[in-house]
Symmetry: C2
Subunit: 341 residues, 2 copies
């Protein structure tokens, strides 16, 4: 390994020291790409004007490996993950905070690509990076980089998302093909480079969610099936409503390449994380209309009604399999796929 | 090393997987101590009611080693750091987000102590932990634990903190003895266990800051001298005002034990980080009154007027030394003290 350290080529501990070198890192590598009226004062806190109302507040730590993967990178993931957590509760994302813990030795070219990606994702999501922090840890203590984002958003007036409003018969929609994020990352990690078609679905969903909430459909619940995958969200639904969930395997959108890759890796597509999909529960009467709204959006083209809520005790998640059987779907116990988000 | 892994004794990768084991970790180790009306719904985002106005938003990543040190730990540091960043811009802290990246193998007893400390600091600062995230990384990839907090606070009406209002003659106050955080942490790291008196000053400063802002004094600027220490804040003041800063060495509060420890470690107390002090710039006419307000608060007992703003070109920070000389104070270049906050 080349032990020559060049401040212009790679991250050194002093970049995180809060002194002159930190200022230069921010001035040369962050502000030109991320600068905006909230961020640029570089004071201890950003200051936003907010109308009276309800504010959503969320955070996510991102520890994904590798940092760059087919379809995205840790930067895009960080922005989209936080935007989506705000959007699924019915909030319009307003501002994001960005805290990076970087391992000494990270090439500045990698950092620059990731910051470019953050900037592009923030533009795509129409959200501002308002405040940030950068720390550097010694070699072999940080695994490249982790990024923790927090976000604040304004609750849309009139939004009635509440899991307690879900009743028997409500339809369950998934907004597209599942399992693509986790499989793309695992393929990259396992060196399955022949799977060139498989790309992470990581995307900001606030625009699609806005259209759903503006559509007039009685949307009762939304969640992005990240860690734990579709199975995790369906298990939450059964637990939180005390109703059962019945989904048809053949209705669940999965691409052929994803299905084959999951088989190769020994994974269940239902538990693989997604970063660009939403599970929507909507009044039965509005199901077809909601599906049409999804399909009319670039990020919802492959949406499908996958099942519905049933009254049966105890509350369970049942999969009607392609072969005509029934299988219980359970929340994954622990870490199916480490370092995936 | 004991390689036996017991889910009840230490953190395993599955604790961060977003499945059943993550739910148990949250239910058994976080909610009993941190639970409140904002956090408990455990949805993708917390929802707060906010009056119209200006909102402050900030974030900090904490990578301190060791995780526990005389006077505090990474948990207390995380809450106080974010509370203080909100308070120094004139905001009343409302809610904190808490994202932990934990290394596999961390003893649950350590996690429990740190969560206790987070809960105690949040009570002390009168702020709620509203939302969180937990990830686990493999052994030797995470260095124990990092915690990233973000915070939101409501700007106090009528606050006129603005570095552009600073004029020649304004007084510079430090609210207490400097360098104690960095020296306590470095002493612990270097095994200087005889320095039993030296403890980190880490504390939430919002109450003290509230009294200063309510005192009627014309406070123009506040900042907590963390990374970069007092020298870093004074350098910022000169740079941002285009005025010079003149401080008297004999007026700067430093305890004898801190001075001796700094000498032993070869450190300059002016550049050592603090986590429980504020640098305040106030109109000259209000200097004595402001000092009295500080000294009337438990966290400001050792406050002192250390100098004032001067008109001289180019803008510099000058220290009038105890021996009667003059020394230029410069912003630290990089990492004086790695992993200190």
């Amino acid at each position: 390994m080349d032990t020559h350290t060049n401040l212009d080529e790679q991250i050194v501990l002093a970049h995180g020291g809060g002194g002159e070198l930190t200022r230069r890192l921010i001035a040369d590598h962050f502000l030109p790409k991320l600068g905006n009226a909230l961020l640029e004062p570089l004071t201890d806190s950003a200051v936003l004007d907010i109308p009276a109302g309800r504010l959503a507040f969320t955070t996510d730590a991102h520890v994904i490996q590798p940092l760059e993967f087919p379809g995205g990178d840790i930067g895009r993931l960080s922005i989209c993950g936080t935007v989506n957590d705000l959007a699924v509760v019915g909030a319009v994302p307003r501002a994001i905070s960005l805290a990076m813990v970087i391992e000494e030795g990270l090439p500045l070219t990698v950092l620059d690509r990731i910051v470019d990606s953050i900037a592009a994702a923030a533009r795509e999501a129409d959200v501002l990076v308002a405040t940030g922090d950068t720390k550097v840890v010694e070699r072999q203590r940080g695994d490249g980089m982790t990024i923790t984002t927090a976000g604040i958003g304004e609750l849309r007036p009139g939004v009635r998302l509440d899991v307690r409003r879900i009743v028997e018969g409500d339809a369950i929609i998934v907004t597209g093909r599942i399992a693509e994020h986790g499989l793309a990352v695992m393929s990259a990690r396992e060196g399955l480079t022949f799977q060139t078609e498989l790309r992470s679905d990581v995307a900001p969903l606030n625009d699609l969610i806005g259209r759903l909430l503006d559509s007039g459909a009685d949307v009762k619940f939304m969640r992005d099936p990240t860690r734990g995958g579709l199975a995790g969200v369906l298990a939450d639904l059964a637990e939180d409503t005390a109703l059962s969930v019945e989904v048809r395997e053949e209705a669940i959108p999965v691409s052929t390449v994803a299905r084959h890759t999951a088989e190769l890796l020994g994974l269940d597509v239902l538990t693989v994380p997604n970063e660009g999909k939403i599970v929507v529960v909507v009044d039965q009467a509005d199901a077809d209309h909601t599906l049409a709204v999804c399909r009319g959006h670039p990020l919802g083209r492959h949406a499908a009604i996958i099942g519905s809520m049933k009254r049966s005790q105890p509350p369970l998640v049942e999969l009607l399999t392609v072969s005509g059987g029934r299988r219980l779907v359970q929340r994954p116990y622990g870490e199916e796929l480490p370092r995936i988000c």
